[in-house]
Amino acid sequence: MTDYLWDGKGRPDERIAELEALLSRFRRPAPPAAPRPSSVSGKRPAARPAPEGYEIGWGWYVAAAALLAIFAIGAAVRFFEARRAREWTIVDARGSKKLVRGESIRTAPGKTARLESAAVGVVELAENTTLTLLEVRDGRTSLDLSAGTIHARTTSPPGVFVVQTPRGRAIDLGCEYTLRVEPGRGGRVHVDSGWVELSRVGQQSLVPAAASAVFDATGRLTPPWFDDAQAEFGEAVRRFALPPEVPIDAVARVRALDRILTLARRRDGLTLIGPDPGSPARRPHPHRAPGGAGRDAGGAPPDPRPPERPRASAARRHEGARRRRRDVRPGRVVAARPGGGGRSAAPEEEDRRGSSRGLLSGLAPAT
């Protein structure tokens, strides 16, 4: 079948032929001359370069270079802004100055100072305070407080702001707190909001808001106790966890424990058994030294012996401990008895086994 529109053969369709005749006026009478290479050399083409898929023109290279330059500038700005945010600035009565890594600041008697960092927050220094900037990097800012008192208000994520002391370190978990270090005597942390982890090797004390914990000159830690607890309760905790006598006066410690258990409220369960009884962190590692805050008050060295299999006497002790913990509730007081046969182990023995933060957590058997 012939199709005039398709190949121009066959009988012409009148209307198509008419259109052809009409539109042929736009036909070019003679073909144009092809351009010669010599006539176009060095001449800028008038038409746009061919589309993508056929060639890559200079425009694409320029666009790619511009894009790369924008990214590079953006990355540089971001880098320098982040670095500036991590910088610490000293602000005092004389003005402000940048504190560089390794540099120390010491406040004179009667003078205070203030450290600011956009990435971390604000640290206020009381009089007679010596603070050194140890480390500033992404994800960690470390200061060394060798003496004096600081008050920190942080806005950084938990774990970023760390203050080293001669006997341990305070890790900010997103909070506001005060830390005091007295050379040769230990120190104290008081938390206003959030949490602070007070730790040294093998020991840890998680201090919540409205609570305090202390450490002594040897680095021993107490568990936290709340501000609204009786003063005698705090003293007993300190006396039990940080016994001053050498060798340890076991009778005095048990007497302190007796006072603790007598004065403890339900809220003070934090002091007795730690903030998170189910946490694996509270469980002793079989090959590691017992390390609970307060429970490790003796600072015993790591025990290299493998864990013992539970024996009948240990099972009895476990049962006794379980009963005692059940009994620690308001209105019911159970006094621990020194050398109480199968019911209670001596404090020294508990020290070897204890690994958690609470005072009584060491009474649980090792698992």
């Binding site: 199709d3 529109l5 398709w6 190949d7 121009g8 209307r15 198509i16 259109l19 052809e20 009409l22 539109l23 042929s24 006026r25 736009f26 036909r27 070019r28 073909p31 144009p32 092809a34 351009p35 010669r36 290479p37 176009v40 001449k43 083409p45 008038a46 038409a47 746009r48 370069p49 061919a50 589309p51 056929y54 060639e55 890559i56 023109g57």
Partner: protein, 181 residues
Amino acid sequence: MVTTGRTAAAARSDAGLVEAARGGDHAAFAELHARYWRVVRAVLLGTLAAPDADDALQDVFVTALTRLSSLRDPGAFGGWLLRIARNRAADLKRRTPPQKMRELDESYGTAETSTDAAEAARALEAIRTLPEAYRETLVMRLVEGLTGPEIAERTGMTPGSVRVNLHRGLHLLREKLRVSS
């Protein structure tokens, strides 16, 4: 010089001509020009007034000659050239006021009556309102006088597509002309 049949065939293909033109063979580029100038002009004429299309026709080939070394697939010369032409037409159309186009079309014819010239301009304007595929194919067939198989060969479209474009385009064109008359 002895030329094998295969070499001669390759030389007649677009790819062979492009390779030769890249090597500075003007005759090869002239052959490509002769092969494609009608379809390029048809693409331009589908958008631009005739004088503008003739100017742009030369620009397109100058561009092609300048950029020939950057063409990655020499066998795709036809499609590459038509894309250059479409880009050029779009560029010029943006810069040219639409009213001017009709005046130039009407004055393009020389030995015809003014009525025929007006009719031709009206028909070409009606074609320009069609979708691109129909528009270009109809201009190639009705203005440049190419046959369907030639259009398919130059543009890379399948013969079936060209046939469909021609018939549907003509159908739409008749409707438009009937409405406008």
